[in-house]
């Protein structure tokens, strides 16, 4: 877990700042933004191991942000955090490419598990892509 980089995106400032401090106390490196637009800019600038994204936000909502983030970085692992964790919301989130979803307020232990799982999956995807790129280079060079 230490060294894992997470982006928290939520317009509920007091909530997300508190959650960030608790995650940081457990060795996770956390950035916080309060809009979908800012999240997209952060992701454009640098990858994260996982993004925890609120669904209901001013401007671009969570689902819209998820779509844009995955366009920029298809291997990004996004966990949607919703006040209405219905099956419908979950199905919609997964259809759009979310790694997982959970109901707000998030249980810290459960969130940590999901973040860990997401970070592991992203690492695996990055390694796979690197292996494919190496194989491609070797093939092109005829080695």
């Amino acid at each position: 877990m230490p060294g894992t980089r997470v982006l928290l995106v939520d317009d509920e400032i007091d909530y997300v700042v508190t959650l960030a401090e608790r995650l940081e106390a457990r060795g996770i490196e956390v950035d916080v933004v309060h809009t979908g637009e800012d999240a997209i800019e952060r992701v454009r600038a640098a990858p994260y191991d996982a993004i925890v994204l609120d669904v209901v936000m001013p401007g671009i909502d969570g689902i819209g942000t998820l779509t844009r983030v995955l366009e920029l970085r298809p291997d990004m692992q996004v966990i949607l955090l919703t006040g209405k964790a219905t099956i419908e919301t979950g199905v919609e989130a997964m259809k759009r490419g979310a790694a997982d979803f959970m109901q707000k307020p998030a249980d810290l232990g459960e969130l940590m598990e999901k973040v860990q799982k997401a970070a592991n999956k992203r690492m695996m995807l990055v390694e796979k892509r690197a292996e494919a790129e190496v194989a491609d280079i070797l093939m092109r060079k005829g080695w």
Binding site: E12, Y15, V17, P58, K104, P105, A106
Partner: protein, 241 residues
């Protein structure tokens, strides 16, 4: 539910009640989520203290301040929920219109924030009570007026909700300074017209194309009876748009 009719469109009234209750539940959940995380963080601080690690008192103070804000917000939402619940069992002959407008605006604050809209109620300090119909029917029609204008307002717009009185009764104007263009006329306007008619009044659009969206609701005084009808207003009625 009371034995008096509440207004002109039961389905539309139910929609108002359901949306308002869901919005309050969302806001309460957010307030409680902050309290829950803050409690967890204070436990973290305690654990750190017991392990002999110093915790900056300013950090405690910051968390306590967050809890206070969340508690106040939750109490405001609980107060609104209490009011909303009792709108259906108070078939007042004289609801205080100013309070109804203020409460309905408060109920829609979250939805407005999500759409980056600002709601500005302008309600007279004096009581405005001279309309027929119950609190619930009045709240439903005020809410639908607000929602219709919010649907047509551009992101970032300010919606001014002005309550006034004239000899014809009560006049509520909901005006947006930003316009996305005309929304399609349809069942929503018809439902609003039915709700307003349930109070013996009428709702009319009074737009200035490209400049503002404005919806005017007129409700006649209590006792005006069937003869009052909706007063004439420049612009077009929702069913004529």
């Amino acid at each position: 539910m009371a034995d008096e009719p509440h207004g002109g469109d039961a389905g539309e009234e139910l929609l108002f009640f359901g949306q308002a209750a869901a919005g309050l539940s969302h806001e309460l959940r957010n307030a409680l989520a902050t309290v829950q995380q803050a409690a967890g963080l204070l436990e973290d601080y305690l654990a750190a203290g017991r392990a002999g690690r110093a915790v900056d008192p300013d950090r405690f103070a910051a968390v306590v301040a967050r809890v206070g804000r969340a508690a106040n917000r939750g109490l405001d939402q609980a107060d609104l929920l209490h009011w909303l619940g009792h709108t259906v069992d108070r078939v007042d002959r004289a609801p205080e219109v100013g309070e109804v407008v203020r409460r309905v605006v408060a109920l829609r604050q979250h939805a407005a924030r999500v759409r980056r809209l600002t709601l500005e109620p302008r309600v007279p300090a004096r009581p405005v009570t001279a309309v027929a119909g119950g609190t619930f029917a009045l709240a439903a029609v005020v809410d639908r007026c607000l929602v219709r204008v919010m649907e047509r307002a551009a992101e970032g717009a300010t919606l001014t909700v002005t309550l006034d009185e004239d000899p014809g009764g009560v006049v509520l104007s909901v005006e947006s300074d930003g316009v996305t263009g005309s929304a399609e006329r349809g069942e929503d306007d018809d439902a609003l017209a039915a709700l307003a008619a349930g109070l013996g009044g009428g709702a009319t659009w009074d737009d200035a194309p490209g400049e503002r969206v404005r919806l005017v609701l007129r409700i006649p005084p209590a006792g005006a009876g069937d003869s009052a009808g909706p007063p004439t207003e420049p612009g077009t009625s929702p069913t004529e748009r």
